[in-house]
């Protein structure tokens, strides 16, 4: 006997993601899902982004890690409202799910926010598969990871709307071809904007901040 089903296996997460999207629309807040491998500099990139955007842009952050509140402790010093998700208590998941993010967003409160940034768990594979109800996805690749990572982890760079090539201040000390790194990202995702930056020296920050402000404006109508 055959039973036809024809269903998406991740339907439960997608339903939650749609619920989140509706919630974020009601709150008129732009949501960015930030992903990368561990150690690419997501948190430092965010710290500098928050310092430069606030207080004009009101930013909240949800930060995901398997363990520790180290990232939240760093981010909270910028003055932003921050909440930490540790997935260890949920089985040490390798990604954030839509329901976890919605729950945290509700606890954080989104009424007075223009921009909510979700710093996903450091992992170039799994987070790419899970919709969390975001408006855009950013991937951070640091030059120390090597130029070929976009080709090795194509799904992540395929689903991203924007990419940051971080730690460019280290280029003089590395045998890394910057153009090749950017070219590989655009091979996987033609026309994707790539911002070459250093979170440490803050070189190259303006185009990234402009991109963010435009995205917030496009969704919320708030000119910042």
């Amino acid at each position: 006997m055959e039973i036809k089903i024809q269903k998406k296996v991740l339907e439960a997460n997608e339903t939650e993601a749609e619920k989140s999207r509706k919630f974020f629309r009601q709150k008129n807040v732009f949501v960015l899902n930030m992903m990368s491998s561990p150690g690419s500099g997501k948190t430092e990139t965010l710290c500098k982004t928050l310092t430069r955007l606030m207080p004009k842009v009101r930013v909240g952050v949800i930060v995901g890690d398997i363990c520790t509140t180290n990232d939240a402790d760093r981010l909270v010093k910028t003055g932003a409202r921050v909440t930490q998700i540790n997935t260890e208590q949920f089985g040490g998941d390798c990604h954030l799910s839509a329901s976890l993010v919605l729950d945290s967003a509700q606890k954080l409160g989104c009424d007075d926010l223009d921009l909510l940034i979700v710093e996903n768990i450091g992992n170039l594979v799994c987070p790419a598969e899970f919709d969390i109800g975001e408006d855009a996805r950013a991937v951070v690749l640091s030059v120390t990871e090597g130029e070929d990572k976009p080709l090795k982890y194509p799904l992540m760079f395929r689903v991203a709307d924007v990419a940051i090539l971080n730690k460019i201040d280290l280029l003089p000390y590395l045998d890394v071809d910057r153009e090749l790194a950017v070219g590989n990202m655009q091979k996987v995702h033609p026309r994707m904007p790539v911002f070459e930056m250093s979170a440490k020296t803050e070189e190259g920050y303006e185009p990234w901040l402009d991109w963010l402000k435009i995205k917030v404006f496009e969704k919320t109508g708030k000119g910042l």
Partner: protein, 117 residues
């Protein structure tokens, strides 16, 4: 890495789909469609599935996985083609805005139940 989560969702959907009036149902095969770009390792999924289906109607069921090729479409020149590596650039106009048509599916299609004796 997240195959256990996928296996759990899969098992939940499959168990919900078995009609309640069947006595001692036994599923022989679960048919799935998985895109080549979906982050799912077939062996890991099968391993997780075997572990969590013990003492359920899905115990010893076989996962039959149809692999879906990655197909893309260039919005700029309207060509479509199959992608077999990580490069998504349009081979026709080289600068196109490329969208995915297939290759990210993780779908459960059907179950085959053992016929009642």
């Amino acid at each position: 890495m997240h195959e256990m989560g996928i296996a759990e969702q899969l098992v939940k959907i499959a168990l919900d789909a078995i009609p309640k009036d069947i006595q001692n149902p036994r599923v022989e095969t679960v048919h799935l469609k998985i895109g080549k770009l979906a982050s799912v390792v077939e062996q890991s999924l099968t391993f997780c599935f075997e572990i969590i289906t013990k003492d359920t109607p899905l115990e010893k069921a076989r996962l039959h996985i149809e692999s879906v090729p990655v197909r893309v479409h260039c919005k700029s020149c309207d060509q479509s083609w199959e992608v077999t590596g990580p490069v998504f650039q349009c081979p026709f106009c080289e600068d196109g805005d490329v969208e995915m048509i297939s290759g990210r599916e993780i779908e459960i299609i059907s179950l085959e139940l053992e016929d009642a004796p």
